[in-house]
Structure formats: C-alpha cells, structure tokens
C-alpha cells in the first residue's frame, strides 16, 4: 500500500515536471514571434510557387497537384519544425537551460516527454496556421477533417522531435548541422511521398518510402484531408505512428541517460 502511494506520488511529481518542461517550450516559442513567421515562409513557397509550377502534372486522379501536395507540405512543416526543435538541444546543452535541467532531479524520460510534447505543440500551432490557407490551393477542409488533422499532427511530431534529440545526443556541435539537413531531414522529406505519390515511384524509392515513418504521417494527413489513404488503411498507419513515437521516446530517454 505504502509502496503504491510512493509510486503514485513519484508519478505525480514527474507529471508536474513534464508540465513545466512543456510550458517552457511553449513560452520560448511564443516569445520568438519572428521564428513563427519565418518558418511559415518555406511551406508557402512550396505550396504557392512550386505547386503552381507543377500544376500541369497529371496524377491520374481528379485532384490537382497543389491539392495533392497540401497534406505533404503539412507533413514537411511538422518535419522541419520538430527536427529543428530537437536538434536545438545542442545549443541548450552548451549555453543554455539543458544543463540546468540535467542536474535537476527529473527522470530522463520525463525530460524527453516534456520536450517532445512541447515541440509537438509548437508544430501543431505551426500546422494550424497553415490549415486556413488550404482554400488557396483548392482544398476544402471540413471542420471534421481539421479536427482529425490536429491530434494527428501532434502524434507525427513526437517521433520527429525525437529524431532531432537523438541527433543532438550524437553530434555535439552545430558544425554538423548541414550534414544533418542533407543526410537526414531532406531524405526523410523526399521519400515520404509528400511531393509525389509513392505508389508510382520506382521500387527502390518505394522501399525507402515504406521504412520512413513520415510516409505514414503524410498518408494519414492525406486521409484526413481527402478521406482515403494511398498506402495502407489509416488505422494501421496510426498504429505505426504510435509505436514509432513510443519507441523513439524510449530510445531518446536511453540516449539521454548515458553520462559520458
């Protein structure tokens, strides 16, 4: 009985700490308004410029290319925002708050969860700002679609933040940043089926696509937008995303626990 009580108290105190870490992420995001705006420029360029240029592309379906790519660009925004947020921990470790957090009596798992939920929330806000722009590219989002997209975005982000965190725990300086962008982030983006249907891609590309977790994220977003998936039924995609997020949080907690 008393052991259960101790355990419950411990859980409660860790939950409070997770809340604190989540709140920290939100505060930081909110106070960097310029970042909010600048991070919207890239998706808009893709949608309105790249998308317009590719208008003539035939997809075999009824949707226009811009309509087709909209969920993909949502996924891209989540990818960039989340991985960046994870990687920025490198700075925090050198000059910032991370050291303070690491010497505090907080379990490493709580640190990762707090960070992932916080960044997930900021990615969610970022994506939500993009949603009303859907009409610009001919996507008609019903309130129901929007309501499904929102939690889906949080779920997708959590795993992506952890990719950033994992990179941050391996490389120790920002010099490797371009390396990360070209070796990790861009391949994830290009093989996720955000810009073209994977179903018509060559076999080798499809292999990369199917082992890429963002593929299922983008496809689930596509389902929420148009009502049908292109790869596997949506419930499996959500299961994959969920399992992936849990695995990544576990791996990151382990990586953070290694004291060099």
């Amino acid at each position: 009985m008393s052991r259960l009580k101790i355990l419950l108290e411990w859980w409660y105190s860790e939950l409070k700490k997770i809340y604190g870490l989540w709140y920290l992420e939100i505060l930081r995001y909110w106070r960097e308004k310029s970042r909010i705006i600048s991070s919207l420029i890239m998706p808009l360029l893709w949608l309105l410029v790249f998308g317009a240029g590719m208008r003539g592309m035939q997809l075999g379906g009824v949707t226009s290319y811009q309509t087709f790519m909209f969920p993909g660009i949502l996924g891209m925004t989540l990818l960039f925002t989340s991985v960046w947020s994870g990687v920025s921990v490198i700075w925090d470790r050198e000059f910032g708050f991370l050291k303070e957090i690491l010497v505090a009596p907080v379990s490493r798992t709580s640190i990762v969860i707090g960070k992932a939920l916080g960044s997930g929330t900021t990615a969610l806000i970022q994506g939500t700002i993009l949603l009303p722009l859907a009409f610009l590219v001919g996507v008609h989002l019903s309130p129901l679609s929007a309501a499904i997209i929102l939690p889906l975005m949080v779920l997708i982000s959590i795993g992506l933040v952890c990719i950033g965190l994992l990179i941050a725990s391996i490389i120790t300086s920002m010099e490797g940043f371009n390396f990360i962008m070209s070796l990790v982030v861009m391949p994830i983006f290009f093989t996720s089926g955000a810009l073209f249907p994977l179903t018509s891609a060559p076999g080798w590309l499809r292999v990369f696509g199917y082992i890429n977790p963002l593929t299922y994220g983008v496809d689930a977003l596509r389902w929420a937008t148009f009502g049908e998936t292109m790869i596997i039924p949506v419930q499996f995609e959500i299961l994959i995303l969920l399992a992936y997020a849990i695995c990544m949080v576990a791996i990151c907690s382990y990586a953070f626990n290694i004291r060099k």
Binding site: K17, W91, E94, A104, P105, S107
Partner: protein, 330 residues
Amino acid sequence: MQPKFAIETRELTKKYDALTAVDHLNIEIGYGEVFGLLGPNGAGKTTAISMLCTIINPTSGCAQVNGFDILKRPAEVRKSIGIVFQDPSIDGRLSGRENLQLHACLYDMPSTLTRRRIAEVLELVGLEDRADDRMKFYSGGMRRRLELARGLLHSPKVLFLDEPTLGLDPQTREHMWDYIENLAKEACMTIVLTTHYMEEAERLCNRVAIIDYGTIKVIDSPDNLKSTLKGDVISINSTEPEKLATKLTDLKIAPEAEFSDGTLRLTVPDADKLIPRLIEIATDIGVQVNSVSVHRPTLNDVFLHYTGREIRADEPESAMKMHMMMMRRK
C-alpha cells in the same frame, strides 16, 4: 543521521582518450565548509565538479555527495545540490522569475514554499525590481546573481560554484563575494567553488586544494598554505643596517638576514608580531629606522611553489562559446 562528510571522493578519475582530466582525486569536505578548487584553466576543476553533480560519469573511482553515491543514487545527489555553472544556463527569453519558477517546478517544490523562497532569494541577490524583465536584458553580473539565486532556491545541502565571478567587473565581483560570504556565515551552507582567482580563494575559502593537470598538489587553509612558504619578508631601511643585522643575528631573531643598499631583508614566520620588537631593538642600539615594509606570501606564491609556474589568468575559456551564443540569440 547526517553523514560525516558533505563530499567524499575516493580515487575519482576521469579520462578522455589520452588526456587524464581528473587523476585519482581524494578529497573530504565537511558540512559548512567553503572549499576551493584552485587551478589554471584546464586543470580539471570543472570536470571534477561535473562528476560530483552527476552530469558526467567517472572513468574510475567513486564519490559521495551528502552521503549519496554519485553513480548509484544520482537522483538523491541531484536533490541535495545546487549549482552555478561556469557558462550561462538561463533562458534569455524567460524573465528572471520564470527561470526561478521553472527551477522550483523541476525540484518539485510546493507552491507556497516556491513563492516564499523566490521572494527570499531575489532579495538576497538584490534583483526584486528586475525579476519580471526578460533575462536577455540583464547585464552579465545580474545573470550571474540570478543563477546564484536559482542555485539556492531549493535550499540545497551543498552548493557548487564553478568560477562564480569569471568575467565580472570588480564591483560586481565584490558583491558576489559578499553574497557568498553571507551564505557561508549565516546559512552555514557547504560551498564548493572553483576559481583561478587567488584573491577569491583567499577571501572565501576555509580550505583550498591546489589542482594542476588533474591532480591535487596540496590541500590546506589559505593561511597554512602561505605559512608553509618560508614566511613574511620584512624590509627595514635604516641608518646602520650592518649593526642591526649583527644584533638581530645575535638575538637569534632573524637567522636569514641579507642587506643591500642600506635595506635589511628578514624572512620571518610572523612579521606583524616581530615589527614592534625590531623597532625596539633598533632604538636600543641607537639605529634609526627610516621605513619598514612587509611582503606577505600570497596564494600566488604558494601556487608557484607547488606547481612551478604562475597561474594563467586567461580569458574565459568560454569566450568563443559566448560569441557563438550572441550570434544565435540575435
């Protein structure tokens, strides 16, 4: 029951490839002590503190902080300690109060206690008026003071200060020293500080460990360390130095007397007590004393004695990092 020592290390060692940053460190620090790790940059001070704070693991050896093993019970160690890092560890986007509130949250402090303690520590470091400003508008000294306040917020048993006054102007440094002295006197807090400023170690510490290349050369109180050197040097300028020297040698007061240009130099254990006697003796034998000056050995002399070199008063090793941080925060 309180453990015997606030900090106890046994052969604590940290190796990075070929470099041994901390080499078989053995220290015992009692409760209520202000203990200084004195050494040049790169001597292993920060590495030693990082191990005690459970940020990095030792390669070999062990240590206990507040009775808890740093490897087996890191959570308890973390609850027992407060730390002010050498490099900034605050978020400039948050206000001072928000930084403190987050700290309280991470240490699971009840909300009424949090409010009371935040008010207390802000008053201690004199930042009540600026508490609600974003910290990016703080000066370097104010940031440091807030970091000190934060380290104290959860009333830790042991406080680590890693170069607490590095890069601060003399006036702010003086204030920091006052705060730290008050903590030691009034709160009886165990404080471990690293520094490469001699005057800082001399002023604040009960005991000092001189550390170089990862090993401790000597541990003692600043006064004892200084007295292990031959002693104070008294220079007496008088009308007849030879006569005075002979008399003093006869009286066995100063066996090591040397003189040049009418100035007699004596190396003695305790100059303060001897000077009145010297004047008396000189007057008795009719020698007129023009001036007397005393050079006391400083910790700098001690450092030189034990390491064979001067302490390097370099620029902060984090100067480069600071620059990068400024670039980023812009």
